[in-house]
């Protein structure tokens, strides 16, 4: 978001010597990942507009895959080019940071999105309608569910290929989010990836009522929270007189600089800082789904089309935590002693709350939603460490977690009955007997969630807790350990259900997926096991990416 700074400078310059206007300077290479994705998104829209319907699916799929792959390659290139460490710097006139954490998170997001595209594109699971394959998105989202319009759309074999560009836009926003280096960029990025998600949530082919409800809930609450975030931004701006991270950080650490006497007189400007910070934090905590801002998570996860849920659960968390880290480490280190205890509290109630409520869930998607809340708590424990170890452990955890999540939701798409996906837990009884392989894979994911050794979940959990313990948060670790014991209970419940209960007569069948979903799941399992058995390489990656540029 160059313009703020540029215009600002324009104004100051104007006040001084009139004359030459310096053109804003943009480092296109450093920003290439984002630019590629957004560009591809735009092209995707054009495809929707210009390419005949029957070709759209493949061209969109191809485009998205290529774009994401290219973006990922760009990230790798940048990292290899040392932008993650030595050459890390602020780009786009202070709007975007190009540094280790940013690149690592962007890389993760891109990989996750790549896999998500696979699940988006899956067209073998639903029985073919009128002879043409269908994916998990509504044929004609605008049409009334079950209405004549929809019938016609289905008959005509329409498919919502718009999901791909929409997805790409969301990804674009997510790429900027953790890299945003001023509050405005943060806000814009937030909206850029939220709005597409709202739409995606509404597109489910089956159970459209739930889908639409999820969308409206997500939208209203999301907008509500972003309003708070924006107000927080306003207050911080008022406090520091700038929205640039560096600027605010400087003011925070050096204490108040000269400020409008009226302002100073009326309210202690620290209040501006504290309230502002709290509100911005709230905005981000909403996105990571931390208690008490988690209410949307179960409903949205349940209602949204499962591929979207998987994408959200994985990518959104990564992006949001990235932004949270940057905010806390770059902007607010000066007031660490104010926010750390608060975050302690949030982390604890998030871990416990998520785990406890999950015990009595009866829908697999809601269960995973609550588990994701609990995991948010674990990650927060790492965030609080406020050490380089903390950063890298969080980065690692995010990487590990996102793959497990994607895989798990991908498996959920496979278990179906007449009404589409059979997400009611009781229907999963005896799955292990029906199709041991799928059940076993899902069990692996569950064990990873539970943090059983030899899975990525354990490595991540260990890394995070280790960082926390070293930063003196020993009791936080104990709480974390206890809540993961509680959490273990419901993961095990699912395993018991799948393996030790007799299959029901009218139980769901396991659809045979196309290579797309299979690849997605396979990647998930591989990542889970590799990160569990030999995490060192990735820990190193995260470790080197542990430093924020200021």
């Amino acid at each position: 978001m160059s313009s703020v700074a540029s215009v600002h400078s324009l104004w100051t310059v104007a006040a001084g010597a009139p004359g030459k206007i310096p053109a804003p300077h943009i480092e296109y290479t450093e920003l290439s990942p984002t630019l590629i994705v957004l560009g591809a998104a735009v092209i995707g829209i054009l495809i929707e507009a210009l390419v005949p319907r029957r070709n759209r699916y493949y061209s969109q799929l191809l485009l998205s895959l290529v774009a994401l792959a290219a973006a990922f390659a760009a990230v790798i290139g940048l990292a290899a080019g040392g932008f993650g460490s030595s050459k890390a710097h602020i780009a786009a006139m202070g709007a975007i940071a190009v540094d280790g954490p940013a690149l690592f998170l962007q890389g993760t997001i891109l990989l996750v999105s790549l896999i998500a595209v696979f699940t988006f594109a899956e067209r073998r699971l639903d029985p073919a309608a009128h002879g043409n394959r269908v994916d998990s998105f509504a044929a004609q989202p605008a049409a009334v569910p079950g209405g004549p319009a929809e019938q016609a759309a289905v008959k005509a074999g329409f498919t919502t290929t718009e999901v791909f560009p929409i997805l790409l836009f969301a990804v674009g926003g997510m790429l900027i989010f953790p890299a945003a280096n001023d509050l405005l960029t943060l806000f814009i990025a937030l909206e850029v990836f939220s709005l597409p998600l709202y739409i995606l949530c509404a597109l489910a082919r089956r159970q459209r009522l739930l889908s639409q409800e999820a969308a409206v809930k997500y939208f209203l609450l999301g907008a509500f929270s972003s309003a708070f975030l924006l107000f927080g931004v306003a207050l911080l701006y008022g406090y520091a007189g700038t929205v640039g991270y560096a600027g605010i950080a400087q003011v925070v650490s050096d204490g108040a600089k000269q400020i409008d006497p009226a302002l100073a007189g009326t309210m202690g400007n620290d209040a501006l800082l504290l309230i502002g910070a709290a509100l911005v934090l709230m905005g981000l905590l909403f996105k990571v789904g931390a208690v008490p801002f988690h209410m949307w998570t179960p409903d949205v996860y349940q209602g949204a089309p499962t591929p979207v849920t998987g994408f959200m659960a994985a990518a959104t968390k990564v992006a949001a935590f990235g932004a949270l880290l940057r905010l806390l480490y770059v902007v607010l280190p000066g007031m660490r002693w104010d926010w750390r205890p608060v975050m302690w509290g949030v982390a604890i109630i998030t871990m416990l709350g998520g785990a406890i409520v999950a015990i009595t869930q009866t829908d697999i998607k809601r269960l995973l939603a609550y588990s994701s809340i609990a995991h948010a708590g674990f990650i927060l424990a790492g965030v609080i460490a406020t050490s380089e170890d903390g950063v890298s452990s969080v980065l690692f955890y995010l990487g590990a977690y996102s793959f497990v999540t994607l895989g798990a939701f991908a498996v959920v798409t496979l278990v179906r009955d007449a009404g589409g996906e059979a997400t009611t837990l009781s229907k999963w009884a005896g799955l292990g007997r029906r199709s041991p392989l799928v059940a076993a894979v899902f069990a692996v994911f569950l064990l990873a969630f539970a943090g059983i050794p030899l899975t990525s979940g354990f490595a991540g959990k260990f890394a995070v807790f280790k960082a926390a313990a070293q930063s003196g948060a020993g009791w936080l670790v104990v709480v974390g350990v206890l809540s993961s014991a509680i959490a273990a209970f419901f993961y095990i419940r699912v395993i018991v259900l799948m393996f030790f209960n007799e299959p029901k007569a009218d139980g769901p069948t396991v659809a045979v997926p196309s290579p797309l979903t299979t690849t997605a799941i396979a990647i998930g399992v591989t990542a889970t096991l590799v990160l569990g058995l030999a995490p060192q390489y990735f820990l190193d990656l995260a470790g080197h990416a542990g430093v924020f540029v200021r």
Partner: protein, 99 residues
Amino acid sequence: MNPVNYLYLAALLFTIGAAGVLIRRNAIVVFMCIELMLNACNLAFVTFSRMHGNLDGQIIAFFTMVVAAAEVVVGLAIIVSIFRTRHTASVDDASLMKL
């Protein structure tokens, strides 16, 4: 006139908006309340911008408007589609998923 008053006004508007979100049932109205909150933020931005004597706040206000507009697009789309399905815009009716 003391610019701080504008801040108070902004805070007031923001609170009204938030209250509205909590109180009103009609999705459209709820949505409007959110817009109101955003505008309150804008007011705050502009005021601060004036106090600090730099333009950032005012620029941000423009961005906020754009975002708000975008939100309207998406939001209305969702709300309308729900309305067409359920023939009601009450947010309380959309409560199939709970517990």
